[in-house]
Symmetry: T
Subunit: 146 residues, 12 copies
């Protein structure tokens, strides 16, 4: 079972970027944790980060053999219908995660174009949002409890 | 370390209540899973369900020795400032969970009075929302990764 | 066939409470009329009033053997998602009634959290709203004209 | 005592028009039921249907000797100030009825220009909405319970 | 110079209709005053009242030889784009009048679909709104002071 | 196969009415083009214009043997629920057309009560909107490309 | 009978100020016309212009012996509750006039804080708005037709 | 003369609850101050705190022999129509008080369902809001200055 | 300790101005009561009324040696950012008072530009609002209970 | 005469992507139809698809020698001011097309940043929207009927 | 070439007023800098500060021989239509400046009644906003680059 | 000291693009002026234009050694949270500039996602907006007056 992890704009700066909001764990470390958890869960896992909406859309379109997506859309979540349409087009189940608690921040971050078509949303736990999200996605795909 | 679990109105019907939305796992089963996970994580865990806003407020006020809350406010999350105020008054960290993906339902369910003061929010994974939420809460309380 | 009648907060004061708005008929008198009409229509009918949202939710949950509800939610109709969720959870057909014409009053009374999941809504006819509502509910349950 | 029944646009198609929403009873059948109930209640009753707002306004203006109106404004209820003004000008009490439960449909149907000046509103009971409405109107005109 | 006067729905009831709002002067009397003022000002004046939007539109379209319109759209002013389009299509200058002070009434009466394409608007002076409006229209057409 | 063409209020003035917005082609010319195109496509085609909402509703109700409608509702598109209800009641597929680009005009023209229940909408191409709309409707009815 | 005329900010520039909007007649000329019409109608008339809200409020408070006000509040009409309160405090009937057609201009000009407490409003007729307004005010004060 | 004091949810925590917002004075101390002031003013005074909306409604209904209420609705002020209806039903004059300055906090706290039916509102003075409110209520009941 | 009292526009008319709303006590009487209470509390107190926003701003700027302000901004409270900025610039604590209960009046009176930067707000108690406000201000300045 | 066709994000998936909404015709097939129609109409036609907003902007900027654009902006239509600005900068006439009927879908799809500056808009006809749009564009460019 | 500088309410307190927001440079210093820059640029420059809207309007009206205005409206920018109308009446080009970054402050400061009729707006640079604004105004007046 | 200049989408067309709005100066010319001014001010200055949001984000992320940014986000300013997040992540001070006066254009241009986190904003002065912005940025960085 293959899972594609997607990181939106500026997440390559995780760890150094506004650490009081986003935490001090870097993206490489997050990807490592996810790969380790993936191994434990028996998954093949690929990770892709881009600051370009179009590249994220391309990546989603290419991932037709994945079983699902784990996606942190970052700022694009609030502005990109193209990302939503790509996820709808491919049709795989996906989990949306955010490191920060987006409902506790500026009002334009309170809603995303992805949340209502996701399996579920996890926000506010820093790097842990990703590992929790991966567990949730795999449990859904296997119809097993977490 | 003690964690108080709170279930809002109508969650006593979980399993039979609109199962296409809320899943088929009952509340007793959820509480059992949480207790098992609690043991595994070295926690003492109490669970309380009520259809009465006031009883939930009372329970929060009594829980001064808890380290944190895991709360599914159900319908009260969208209407109760009293619940918010009780959580603010006691001041413990808490995680808000929802079985259904509330941003994919009626617009009056898209926001809660608790989300912006929670550590984080987890929604959409049925009974798994609880176990994910407990993991997230404990990780935060111990400053460890999930 | 059993029908559960539910009266929301402050309806115990009907008759003395703002009579120019709510009429001069008291709740006991209304319940009597409903029981008489119930007998005429061959129904068993129970009536429950509470000023507590939670007790109304509990009562709805207990009424699993009823065929339907006749409910005047009073002020809770405009604020209680928990009541809505309880009615959705039990899933019986119900009719919502109001003594006053709520669309002719303050704007916060113009909509309820129950109306869109009710069979129908009757408002503005004082105590008659109840008897009309009971006739409508029974006609629906028996698939007969009123 | 004379009561004027008014049917707005497209109600001549009742029975065949979107029967899952409006029911399978035709307008002739409804008018017959109303006349029978009228006889039982000792009323003279006239019925008028039109797809033309102006003709409905004309009919209301001509009905100066009626004691009240039973009106299903259909789509005009959401758009016609002229209908409201005609009812205000003549000043007779009236009951507004709808076959479908308008608060459970598109948001532009949730409010009407007539509801706040009506005695009361009945919605959602198909053809029964009319007979319930006639009972309510006559009870009001005679200051008797239904 | 010919001026077409247009009266919208329910204005045939002026004088008897809600006299505390609209005053006690009837439409015939208003038309007489306008004809007298018209004679004084050297105008030919026609008056047309209808409860039918379509007839008012027809009348405006037929009035190609008029120099301008004096129009009290009544309730249609708040709901009819067709009336606006007819006035735009014919392109004559017009004055909008209202007997009542529409900005002191229900909020849905505060704006009309005609006001922003009129020469000007006069509201609140009962039957005098018409005579003031006619003076204003003629002054404009002759580029003279009132 | 029969197609009913419907023209709303003021479209009888096409060609002379605000030609910079609506173009210089008159309604007779448009109907001629449509008839010619209809012949070419093997259709029987009737055309009906009215300034009266009620007459348009009547016409739609009478057209039960038509395969579909081509409708330019003009100003009524923004204000008439009755027209929407008539189209829903008859249930034939229809195409909505506008000569002007309504989203480039006053904000109250940006949406219509018909668009979301139409097959599709074509706006902004003057008289060509009609011929394009007829092609689109027939292609749909025959499940063929345009 | 004394009438106080009030001119708000920038009206001292009438005639030269944006003449395509406000016309080419100056304030002195308007005051002269009003005085002449006042004499004809048997009135004593005073006129006061100020760019200062406070001075207009002072003037209204001093005018306790006036029978009514003719007021063009200009820009203050859209922003001054103090002006409204002064007119309410003194309690004399008044007519609000505007040279330009305010509902055809920027949206912040569409409503005033005075309109709903005025006898009526006249807008769009340049200097004629004043003379029409004076006629309307006097007719009201004398309960005579204009 | 009897006055009923009502304290809403979480006010039992006053003094320890968010002291930078609500102050450091506890509820017992406030009740003592009110009783002392009550004695000074010749009042009998009862105090009731509850976290349950329904108990507050019950208490209001029982207080028919009180001359008035002093109420701090806390979080329920922003959400409870039932509390409003209870106060309207009993009809005694009441003063609404808040320890914190609610218009300086989250926007959902800016308005209450009670303020517009209260004699007046006092907010922002910590425990002093109560004593000021009691003075204001008694002055009103005795038609004397404070 | 010096306190500056500020009265906004039209408050010089208190007592005669709309007495059912504002009460029958005049401004001189209010100032006298405040001076008496001031003496009792050991204060030096100055009072200033103006109908001019600029003069109120000037007065606030001159009051650098005052310990705080007691301000009834009247209509300017709803419209003046300049007043807010003056109070922020000088930085003294102040209490906002209103004779009428502004949240029970027109919606444009429900909020002020001052409330959120005040210590607290007192509204609805007529002349008593001032004396209550002075007590509250002094208690705050001296960190003593009222 | 050269026409540039532009396809926005995810349109490369047409045919397989949500076929109940977008139809079963693929992009290659659409481009072929357009080229065939182009040949018939004597056009040179280029087609460009991208998931990248920036590449679409680049393409528009490069197309200075085109006579016009046929553009399906897909999801970018609802979010991209840059696309609007590019079309305004180049200034060629263009037609906006959508396969689905966007006004019958989620509310965030009801308006686009392009519609009001387009010649016209065609929506809802699947692949036919393109061919109809090309006919409309060419008719406009040649000032001929379709 | 003469330029009139206008400073709105409370700007006389610049330097001491909320220095973290407005900076530590006083108004005299700003006027000196502007005069020095004016000399350098060959300008005659007058400066006027007032806390009175009316005096600012008067000053604008008197400045008919100025080539343009440099205006910091301060709080009046958000509330004064009279100021807008004065600038429109005189018709000189003007630049609006703010010391603070108004879009980073309370939402009621985000827009001004002047911005859309100004040449341009400069905000956020403390005292430098003025000197930058003067350079921009003069460059525009002389059609030269800054 | 290094300053990075960023130009958003379509700014490569400056000079030819809608010159009545954006002016006739091209981007090369602007960059030249900025470099000359940079030399005069002792700066090293790099300039980057892209139509791709992702490339602008990449460029901001790479500029860790710059002292600040001068950015004209063009259309992306109204739609890109990713740009905001990149600027927040890098944390350098920046100035936002616009050639046109964005508050005088379409309402969707009135606010940007960057303005409230910028030092300040300059709009409306064509190419001069850039040179003014550079002066403002450098003055801030050096804590000197412009």
């Amino acid at each position: 079972m293959h899972v594609q992890v997607l990181h939106g704009p500026n997440l390559n700066l995780l760890g150094s970027r506004e650490p009081t909001i986003y935490g001090r764990v870097g993206l490489a470390e997050i990807d490592l944790s996810l790969r380790e958890l993936g191994q434990e869960l028996g998954l093949v896992l690929d990770s892709f980060q881009s600051n370009h909406e179009g590249e994220l859309v391309d990546c989603i379109q290419r991932s037709t053999s994945s079983a699902g997506f784990l996606i942190n859309p970052a700022g694009l979540g609030h502005t990109s219908v193209a990302l939503r349409d790509a996820l709808l087009a491919v049709g795989h189940p996906f989990v949306e995660v955010h490191c920060s608690n987006i409902v506790a921040r500026e009002s334009f971050r309170h809603q995303t174009f992805l949340g209502d078509i996701a399996l579920g949303v996890i926000m506010g736990f820093g790097a842990d949002s990703y590992t929790l999200g991966l567990r949730a996605l795999v449990a859904h795909l296997r119809s097993e409890p977490v």
